[in-house]
């Protein structure tokens, strides 16, 4: 039942909004993985980020893709956690963990060949600005699966359409720059830093109008 609802939600609501009202300019679409396991790592400005990244994968493969999200935020009440878990399909991580491995569900999903979405800034932050440092979670996940590809992605425009703390959606074309994947095998301990600099480099490829 929830699987059907999830499919309908993305087919009838999310994709029309994203492809018709919003509009995407995707650079290097062909780099995206055809199959999991893989992780898409992007800068984070808006709740729309997750929905846009999920819309890049064909609808027929919707069941393969899951965003990784903070349990304390998305599971804070019953209705929201039903929506987050069943419809969006998040994989919750506990930021303040009391025992147990907070990443266990993430590891399970990777073992099942899923494509995960992760925002290593840890927060949506200021619109159209990226945090100077990423959280190390991505490296800890990749360390366990050293040959899994991790795709750095730069998103622009969604912080203008629906920034943190705003309820009014205003359409702007969204730019998505997909970078070359990297793996823990090649990057090792420098991985988090390398992803950060790749996303920064992707951002520098574009030319964006001022937003002050």
């Amino acid at each position: 039942m929830s699987r059907l609802l999830r499919f309908l939600f993305f087919a009838l609501i999310v994709r029309p909004i994203i492809y018709v009202l919003l509009g995407l300019n995707v650079r290097n679409y062909k780099r995206l993985p055809n199959k999991g396991p893989a992780i898409l790592v992007a800068n984070h400005n808006s709740h729309l980020d997750t929905l846009v990244l999920m819309s890049l994968i064909p609808l027929s493969r919707l069941s393969e893709i899951h965003p990784v999200a903070a349990a304390d935020y998305f599971l804070r009440n019953k209705l929201l956690s039903w929506f987050a878990l069943e419809i969006i399909g998040i994989i919750p991580i506990r930021r303040a963990s009391k025992g147990g491995n907070p990443l266990r569900l993430v590891f399970d999903a990777i073992q099942n060949g899923k494509i995960l979405i992760l925002f290593p800034e840890g927060t949506r932050g200021q619109p159209e600005k990226m945090e100077d440092q990423f959280k190390e979670g991505i490296r800890l996940i990749a360390r366990k699966f050293p040959d899994m590809p991790v795709y750095p992605i730069f998103l622009h425009g969604l912080g203008k359409s629906l920034p943190k703390g705003e309820g009014l959606f205003v359409p702007f074309f969204c730019d998505i720059f997909i970078g070359e994947p990297l793996t823990y095998q090649e990057s090792g301990k420098q991985m988090t830093q390398q992803i950060h600099s790749r996303i920064t480099a992707l951002a520098a490829e574009g030319q964006f109008p001022a937003w002050e």
């Binding site: 300019n25 619109p127 205003v170 359409p171 074309f173 030319q207 109008p209 001022a210 937003w211 002050e212």
Partner: protein
């Protein structure tokens, strides 16, 4: 839904598809002849033309409402592209939201045959309302620039383009063949034809640049060749699609060519100012919506008022 369309309109659409089939065949032949050359952009361009012409034909054939909604949607896409290109202020998100809302309203006036509102809504009511909305927000840094750019975008992409749709709402005149649909087709086909004619003339014998700063590729030969060729084509097409007779058809075509050229170079000047080559990558092989409708943003209102003056004006008195 009325599927009955004037015969001349059906013939015109049929001709368009024939031209497209031939272009596709020529592209295949070219590819076979020079297998080493990369023709992927040409094919992308032709494929996009297929999509554009099929959607346009379906919208025109269906009925007036569908055609107006389709043109309103094009207008929305062009406006969105414009707002995504220009520098904007965070404070103006709500102003931009209202600016977007003017699109369905403007096309509703078209649908409602309300000429008086259609012709002043953006230049007067929206022009007065948006600054008010900005005042309420209260940020004065960059106020004039924001008010100016936002309204300029609305004039180009909404007000000007909606003139193409208003052909569908003009009262019937002595144009038994094709009615408003005929005028709309005439405008759109000749505007696009002029783009191609200018390009071909400019490539084959263009030397002297006409507007070197904004469009270094445009030449006097291209411009004049386009005007003459489009005028000549219009002379032959006008009797089938419009009430224009004899030389007036050619003049109508020349007006579309001149206005289309100005629209084209004006949008180029804006893109140069903003430092971009294409307005987006929305239509594969073409660039963005604005790149495709740049000429139309100027030719639509100019041709509309040419027709309006000849058959409905110059005064409103019955």
């Amino acid at each position: 839904m009325e599927l009955a369309i004037p015969q001349t309109v059906a013939v015109t659409l049929g001709t368009l598809f024939t031209v497209l089939v031939f272009s596709h065949l020529i592209a295949f032949v070219l590819k076979k002849a020079n297998p080493k050359k990369d023709y992927s952009e040409l094919f992308q361009r032709i494929n996009s033309w297929w999509v554009i012409i099929i959607i346009f034909a379906v919208a025109v054939v269906m009925e007036r409402t569908a055609a107006i909604i389709f043109l309103g949607f094009v207008s929305f896409l062009a406006l969105k592209e414009f707002f995504s290109l220009i520098p904007t202020r965070r404070a103006d998100r709500r102003v931009l939201f209202w600016a977007y809302l003017s699109v369905p309203l403007q096309f509703y006036w078209v649908y409602d045959y309300w000429y008086g509102m259609f012709i002043i809504f953006i230049p007067v009511w929206i022009f007065l309302f948006l600054p008010l909305r900005m005042l309420v927000i209260g940020t004065t840094d960059g106020f004039l620039k924001a008010a100016g750019t936002i309204h300029w975008g609305l004039m180009i992409t909404v007000f000007n383009l909606s003139h193409a749709a208003y052909f569908l709402s003009l009262p019937a005149i002595d144009n038994p063949q094709a009615g408003g649909v005929g005028l709309l087709l005439f405008l759109v086909i000749l505007t696009q034809f002029n783009d191609v004619a200018q390009y071909v003339w400019g490539k084959s014998l263009g030397k002297t640049k006409i507007v070197p700063k904004s469009s270094p590729g445009k030449t006097w030969a291209g411009f004049l060749g386009g005007v003459v060729t489009t005028g000549a084509a219009a002379y032959f097409i006008a009797p089938y699609l419009t009430p224009l007779e004899g030389g007036m058809g050619a003049i109508g075509g020349a007006i579309i060519a001149v206005a289309g050229f100005i629209g084209d170079v004006t949008v180029s000047a804006i893109k140069r100012d903003l430092g971009v080559k294409d307005s987006s990558s929305f239509i594969p092989g073409h660039g963005g919506i604005l790149d495709r409708v740049d000429s139309l943003t100027f030719s639509a209102p100019v041709f509309f008022h040419f027709i309006f003056y000849l058959y409905y004006g110059p005064t409103l008195a019955s």
